[in-house]
Structures are given as structure tokens and as C-alpha cells.
């Protein structure tokens, strides 16, 4: 009974061949393929060329698995055993395992493809990352280098405005100031983007007066809108909380960006700014911020692009150029604050940006504490000695002018790092302003050399004027004993605020 099955499943899959020591066929059953008696097996398939060397050896057995044989126009995958014997009669047994190996082939195919693809992806990723890092560092460094000249330009044009100018000159100065402001904003944007992309943009959390912030923002933009002849409507939901906790600078940046765009892209009609309370839950207020304009609108096919980075916006879409990096930053900030933003727009009718953001609720006591500090700025009773360590003449002059104008300070300027220590030993210094770009010295080393002098110098406030504005840099400065940092470009107000804060 078993015989037919054995024939079907066993015998039919095996071919037995007897060959002499040269590979000449003596006998075969031709189950898998046909070979003529007396022909050389080597001529059937190059695999059998192996016999030339194997048959020289007597009484041995060689096993070969998974050999692909292309015979009679079809592929069979076989295992082969070669018994070399000493009586000029060698046995070759060939087993057809095509089906078995084909299944294995499928598995190997999937495995290899996925391994190779993941390797290639990884490489691409590495390459892209390298490029990104390079680009971000480049952008960050380059923007830092722009800070000194812009700081000078801002401060000197601020100074000029108070001098005797005729109307025409005042007009020119207006243009310069607005260009300065624009330039400064753009540099801040570029820096923000490079911070975002290198994961260095970190939000702060501080209590602030929301209504006051909104009013400040609105006043600025109302003015801008009226200059363009646009109506500006501000609707505030009286239920919104007064004090919330979050990053007020970034919230201002988000709203400012939206309003700025609305005004820039609207030539007639109005800009409406609404803020409402969605709900309060778990001690958090969820706010809805809406900016609506009657401007040129955005084509629906471009709606996806507007939150992308500048490459896309500038090259592919002329009519929304100038929004620059702003919306990309806005989108990022909002998502970092766990909020969302969406836009509805119709060409030539206008656009509506809606964003929802949550903030922790806070109270008045918190803000009082913080305000107290800033009130101490005013009312100094004596003149203070400021030592400025800076080698850029431009910045020296800038600071000299600002400080001299207050009448509150004696200023001593040195431009070499090595003069710092002798200087503070020989005279009273109430505060040191130290640039981080002085030749041959790092601000951190200079700070250390002051702090190491004696106990008296442990507390002398040191403020670094820095072109490095990343959180990491700030941390490093503070660890080195620096009290505070003023980032370039700075304006008069920022400089004085910081100085007053540290002078007692």
C-alpha cells in the first residue's frame, strides 16, 4: 500500500547517477533530468565541474545543499551528495528540494530587503542630520555676527532722534529706525528657527498680567493699522483670567505675528482681533485667539505651505512672501504650548487664524513679588562706578552715551582682557560690563579671574554682553559666576534695566 506514496513523495524527488573517475555517466535513472549514458556530467551544468577535483579523492563523501541548477530550461534547487569510491564508480544522489527552498527564498527576500532599506534610511538620515546641524550652526553664528552692528545702529538712531533735526531728516530717521526694527526682528526670527531646529528653544513660565499684555500689543498694532487706513477692532471676553502663568514673550510673539500679517496683507477694510475664554479646567484656562482680516486671502492649495519654513514660502508662493519665518515659528510655539492653530481663508475676501492655547491660572500675589523687583530700578542716591570691558569701539561709544545720559554713573572703559584685574584692584567698581567677544579672553575666564581675587570680589555684579543667546550659553555663563547676560542687539532700556537691577 505504501509503495505508490513512496514513489510519489520520495522516489520522484531523487536522481541517482553513477559516474567514473572522470565524470563520465555509467548509469542514471533520469528522474529529474535526462543525461545520456557515456556523456560527461560536467557538460550538463558547471556545478559538476567540481567533480574534477573531488573524484581524485577516494572513499569520501561530499554534501552540497541548496544548489540552483538551471536544467532543461527550468530551475531546480537541489541538495547533492557525492560518494567518491575507489573502483572507478562514484555515486551521485540529487534530491529535488525546489519547493522547500523557494519558501525560504521568500522569507530571505523580505528579511534582506527590509534590512537594506533600514540601513539606507539610516544613512540618509545621518546625512540629513549632518547637513541640518551644519546649517543651523552656520545660521546661528552668522546672526550673532550681525548683532554688534545692529545694536549700534539702533542705539545711535535712538540718540539722533533727540537731537536737532529738521523735518526731512526726521523722516529719514524714521525710515532708518523702522528698517532697524525690521532687521532686528528678522534676525530674531532666524535665530528662533535655528533654535527650534536644534531643539534649543525653551519656553519659560512666569506669571503675567494677560489683560495688560493684550492692551500693550493692541496699542502697537492699532497704530500700525491706522497708518494704513484700516479699522482695528479688539474684542476681549471679560471672562478671561487676569493673571496666567506661561511664556509671555512667546505669547506676544504669536499674537504679534498674526496681527502683523493681517495688517500687511490687508489694503482696505479691517483687522479684527478677538480673545475669548473657551473653558477653565484643572486650574488651566483655555483661550481662543482669533485674528480676522479682509485682506488678499490665501489660495486653498497654499494653506498647507504657510506654516512651513521659508524655503517653501518664498519660492513657491509670491503673494505670501514677507510673512517669512513668522508663521513657522508661530506654529512651533503653539504646538510646544500644547495648543493648536488653524486657518480659514478665501482669496480676495480675507483670512481667519484661530488658535487655542491653555495657560495655568495664577494670582495677583505672584505678580506683586515680581513687580517689586522692577520698581527698585528708580531713585538712585549716589553715582555708581561701572567698568566696561569691551574692545569694539562702536559698542564702547554706544554704552558710554547711554550711561552718561542718565547722570547716574562713572564709567571706566578698558579694551584689553588683561587690564581687568589690575583695574578693579586699583579702584572702586560697583558693576562690571563684560563683552564675550574680547580678543584672547573668554568672558568666563575673565569672570573666574575676578571671582578668585578675594572675598570682596565674589559679589561684584558682572553682566556679560553676549552675542550668544542660547539657553545653554546662558547656563554656562551663570555657572562661571556671571550674574546676568544682556544679549546683543540691546537697546537703551534693556541695558539700563539690567544695570539698575544689580546695583544696590
Amino acid at each position: 500500500m505504501l509503495e505508490p506514496y513512496k514513489k510519489k513523495y520520495h522516489t520522484n524527488n531523487f536522481q541517482y547517477i553513477l559516474v567514473d573517475d572522470l565524470g563520465c555517466v555509467l548509469e542514471t535513472d533520469n528522474t529529474l533530468f535526462t543525461v545520456q549514458k557515456d556523456s560527461l556530467l560536467q557538460t550538463i551544468h558547471p556545478f559538476f565541474e567540481i567533480l574534477n577535483s573531488l573524484l581524485q579523492i577516494d572513499n569520501d563523501c561530499f554534501e552540497f545543499s541548496c544548489i540552483n541548477l538551471n536544467l532543461e530550461k527550468k530551475v531546480v534547487i537541489v541538495d547533492t551528495i557525492i560518494y567518491s569510491q575507489n573502483k572507478n564508480e562514484n555515486l551521485i544522489i540529487i534530491e529535488n528540494l525546489t519547493k522547500h527552498y523557494n519558501n525560504y527564498q521568500l522569507a530571505a527576500q523580505t528579511r534582506n530587503e527590509s534590512i537594506i532599506n533600514s540601513q539606507i534610511l539610516e544613512l540618509k538620515n545621518e546625512y540629513l542630520l549632518e547637513k541640518e546641524t551644519f546649517k543651523n550652526n552656520f545660521i546661528a553664528n552668522f546672526s550673532h555676527q550681525l548683532r554688534n552692528p545692529i545694536t549700534a545702529s539702533i542705539i545711535f538712531s535712538d540718540l539722533l532722534i533727540n537731537s536737532d533735526l529738521n523735518t526731512e531728516q526726521k523722516n529719514y530717521l524714521d525710515i532708518i529706525q523702522s528698517a532697524n526694527k525690521d532687521l532686528k526682528n528678522r534676525i530674531e526670527d532666524i535665530l528662533d528657527i535655528s533654535k527650534i531646529e536644534s531643539g534649543k528653544l525653551i519656553l519659560t513660565e512666569k506669571v503675567f498680567d494677560l489683560k495688560k499684555l493684550l492692551n500693550d500689543i493692541v496699542n502697537g498694532y492699532k497704530f500700525l493699522a491706522s497708518k494704513k487706513g484700516l479699522d482695528f477692532n479688539f474684542v476681549i471676553d471679560e471672562n478671561i483670567p487676569e493673571f496666567i502663568k506661561g511664556d509671555q514673550y512667546r505669547l506676544k510673539q504669536i499674537i504679534g505675528n498674526l496681527l502683523n500679517n493681517a495688517i500687511s496683507f490687508t489694503t482696505q477694510g479691517s483687522v479684527n482681533f478677538k480673545i475669548a475664554l473657551n473653558y477653565i479646567r484643572a486650574k488651566k484656562a483655555n483661550l481662543r485667539i482669533e485674528v480676522l482680516d479682509t485682506g488678499c486671502g490665501i489660495a486653498s492649495e497654499n494653506l498647507d505651505y504657510i506654516f512651513k519654513r521659508f524655503s517653501k514660502i518664498e519660492s513657491e508662493n509670491q503673494n505670501i512672501k514677507g510673512s517669512g519665518l513668522g508663521l513657522a515659528i508661530v506654529k512651533y510655539l503653539i504646538s510646544e504650548m500644547q495648543g493648536n492653530i488653524k486657518v480659514e481663508s478665501e482669496i480676495n475676501k480675507g483670512s481667519k487664524f484661530i488658535c487655542n492655547l491653555s495657560f495655568k491660572l495664577s494670582d495677583y500675589n505672584q505678580i506683586l513679588k515680581e513687580e517689586l523687583l522692577s520698581k527698585q530700578l528708580l531713585g538712585l542716591e549716589k553715582k555708581y562706578h561701572i567698568l566696561l570691558v569691551e574692545d569694539s569701539e562702536l559698542i564702547q561709544l554706544t554704552i558710554l552715551k547711554i550711561l552718561a545720559a542718565t547722570g547716574n554713573f562713572f564709567i571706566n572703559i578698558i579694551s584689553k582682557g588683561e587690564d581687568l584685574v589690575p583695574n578693579i584692584i586699583n579702584q572702586d567698581v560697583d558693576l562690571i560690563l563684560l563683552t564675550n567677544t574680547i580678543q584672547n579672553f573668554s568672558a568666563m575666564d575673565l569672570t573666574a579671574s575676578v571671582r578668585n581675587l578675594s572675598k570682596d570680589y565674589k559679589k561684584t555684579p558682572i553682566i556679560v554682553l553676549s552675542t550668544l543667546a542660547f539657553k545653554d550659553d546662558v547656563k554656562r555663563f551663570k555657572q562661571a559666576g556671571v550674574n546676568d547676560i544682556i544679549t546683543k542687539p540691546f537697546d537703551e532700556k534693556k541695558l539700563l534695566e539690567k544695570i539698575y537691577k544689580y546695583i544696590k
Binding site: C66, N68, Q105
Partner: protein, 162 residues
């Protein structure tokens, strides 16, 4: 009589062993990757100027990321090895040194040619980046896709086998 010599191609999977052979034997190329399992054996006879011709019996092995995993019966009676890696995928040449050491120890008298394939995918800066690996070890940079340097590779090896 034409001598026949057994040449075995080794290397990680997907580096282009099969493609190299197809370019050499049939002068064709395909972008599609069909994984080799076990071994495919093909034959090509080449003329060597001022010498007899030589038949190359070329064994195209299933790719392995480690030579020790190769079935040793496949390597029996080999006259020349071609170790292939994919120039564009560093993982396929990161253990080149130990792979070559394995061959030197187990097949001390068999010549080995080390070949970086897929030259069409990489540029000079990339190659320079890995020059410390490539310079001392690699004999040929080739491309099965363009056919570049493949004839040279096989005829150079064949000459050494006579």
C-alpha cells in the same frame, strides 16, 4: 585544453555579487533585487592574450554578514575569491579586516580580490572619508550598473590563476 578555475564571490547580501556576475557573463543589469539563496554557478571562458584561454566557473553565493556562516562545502577547491562590498553602505565593509583575515587563515594560498561595488552611487568626498579602510585593502572599485572596471577585475584575477 582550456583550464577551468573556480572563482567564488563572497560578501554581505545585496552588495551586488549576482549583478557583477550578470554584467560579466551576460552583459546585463537589473535594478530589481532578487535574493540569492544557496549558490548559483555559471561559466565564462575568457581569452588571455598570448596565453591559453581559461574557463571561469563562477560561484555566486548567498550573501552573509559573516563569512563563518558560509557553508564550507561551497568553498571547497576554490582557486580565487572575490570579496564584494557595497561602497555606499558602510555596514557591508565595517568588518572587512576580520573577513579577510578569515580567508587568509583558512585558504592561505588562494588569491583574494577585494571589490567595492556600486561606485556609481558615491562621490570622491565620500570615498575620502573612508580612505583609511579603503586604501590598504581594496583592489577595485567597480559598478555592475555601469559596467565600470568589471572586465579588468576578472581578467586580472584570471591571469593570476594561470
Amino acid at each position: 585544453m582550456t583550464a577551468s578555475k573556480k572563482i567564488v564571490l563572497l560578501g554581505h547580501f545585496g552588495v551586488g555579487k549576482t549583478s557583477l556576475i550578470r554584467r560579466f557573463v551576460e552583459n546585463t543589469f537589473s535594478e530589481d533585487y532578487q535574493v540569492t539563496i544557496g549558490v548559483h554557478i555559471s561559466k565564462k571562458t575568457i581569452e588571455i592574450p598570448e596565453q591559453e584561454s581559461i574557463s571561469l566557473i563562477i560561484w555566486d553565493l548567498e550573501g552573509q554578514d559573516d563569512l563563518k556562516k558560509t557553508r564550507s562545502s561551497y568553498l571547497l577547491g576554490t582557486n580565487g575569491f572575490i570579496y564584494v562590498f557595497d561602497s555606499s553602505r558602510p555596514l557591508t565593509f565595517e568588518n572587512l579586516n576580520s573577513e579577510l583575515k578569515f580567508l587568509k587563515e583558512n585558504y592561505p594560498n588562494v588569491p583574494v580580490k577585494v571589490v567595492g561595488n556600486k561606485m556609481d552611487l558615491v562621490n570622491k568626498t565620500y570615498l575620502a572619508q573612508y580612505s583609511s579602510v579603503f586604501k590598504p585593502l581594496v583592489d577595485f572599485f567597480v559598478s555592475a550598473k555601469t559596467g565600470s572596471r568589471i572586465e579588468t577585475l576578472f581578467s586580472k584575477l584570471a591571469k593570476e590563476l594561470i
